[in-house]
Symmetry: C2
Subunit: 219 residues, 2 copies
DNA sequence: GTCAAGAATCTGTGATCACACCTGCGAATC
DNA sequence: GATTCGCAGGTGTGATCACAGATTCTTGAC
């Protein structure tokens, strides 16, 4: 069979990487599950090559671990790792949010409000998928407004590792009482209130931390 | 020609990645220079495949940019990016150093002293290579003593992007008067003096920041 | 019926080939 | 002599093939 190349635009491996990245961030992939190059290639209708390239990148970003012996797994969840991730978020995200604060114009505020509404609807219907996606959009609408690309990249790395965990936690404990902080953040952004923004964001991150204490981890 | 496989141990692409990473961290690769898969493959005696995989990882870590049109370059240096990197370092590295502080035993202190001596010798002889390598070893001897792997990974990412820049700066301004902070850090570690450690480390990072102001960047 | 040994299969990894496209160098034309 | 057109070389990218090793299922003997 000839290669049958048609592609659409270009850069298959970039598309694959983005698709997988989306799955990670929105928690569509469970911690501890195993991925295979051939399986993903079949599923996405491409050859192994772009899948391998995408998986290398994800490995570099810590989203998957490449156990050289015949298995490539998304890292299992442990309390230590979860805590480490949250504390790193707590270090980096307030910095990004504060840098973004002066850049928030009316248009972006409108988008933020829309994202928060969509989160609210997801909470009502119990749609965890939509909640995860909305939460991601909400936070990165803020962070991407600031010009420090390296800082943004570090935060993306964290969310990539964090997504699968978050999904497990929310699946286990439900998604109640988590949206208040977003409202506070929007208010602080509107008032250009740096202290309030930092406070609300840290509280938002710590909400996740609180969930963790009791549950036995693994897988 | 038959594949002629001999490998050594295993995992070619891991070796390639590590080799390239070392070159980046120690500044053997200049900002703005271009790399090629075929060239590196030839130079390292492997095929393109492991090189491509390693380069994907490095791209994910921000060490190289993959301009889809025919060129893969190490990002050119700009004042904004340099400043962004340094501020991220300032955010993350003190956190790691303080977490490492209680873990520093006599053996590690001895290694730190040795690394600092080696830096001193490099400064005397003006050996920039040795200085870069020693500086890297010194800092990561500290950071790797603490258990937060994610935090460590983030810092490694920063150094990967930082290495080529640092080399340019030191090549341009010389490496004088930079070692004092390391002595102070060793002293603070010995005394388990958290505040002193933080102060010396931040000063060490800001030393780099000071160098940047006047010079016109690019390339 | 139980357990162990071997075959079949499926995995990641590396090499090689094929292709589209950009870059430069050279020659031909005005 | 200057400008433009075309061809050759080199690039990243994707597909395919080949191989080593691990896992799993089957099959055989006790």
């Amino acid at each position: 069979m000839p290669p049958e190349r048609k592609v659409s635009g270009s850069l298959l491996h970039a598309n694959v990487h983005q698709e997988l990245r989306r799955r990670f961030v929105t928690g569509k992939i469970m911690p501890g599950s195993t991925l295979s190059t051939r399986g993903l290639a079949l599923e996405l209708g491409v050859s192994q090559t772009p899948v391998r390239e995408a998986l290398s990148r994800l490995a570099a970003e810590g989203a998957v671990q490449i156990r050289s012996k015949r298995k490539i797994v998304v890292p299992p969840m442990t309390a230590d790792r979860f805590c480490d991730l949250l504390r790193c978020r707590e270090l980096l995200e307030p910095e990004a949010a504060l840098a973004a604060l002066p850049m928030i114009d009316r248009a972006r505020l409108k988008k933020l409000k829309a994202a928060d509404d969509s989160i609210g609807r997801a909470l009502k219907t119990g749609d965890v998928n939509a909640y995860m996606e909305g939460n991601f959009n909400f936070h990165f609408l803020i962070y991407s407004a600031q010009p420090r690309r390296t800082l943004l990249q570090l935060i993306e790395t964290l969310w990539l590792q964090f997504g699968p965990f978050m999904r497990v936690v929310y699946g286990r404990f439900g998604t109640a009482n988590l949206t208040d902080q977003h409202e506070l953040m929007i208010g602080a952004l509107r008032r250009q209130d740096a202290a309030g923004l930092r406070r609300a964001l840290i509280a938002d991150i710590r909400d996740g931390m609180g969930l963790i204490g009791a549950s036995g981890f693994e897988a």
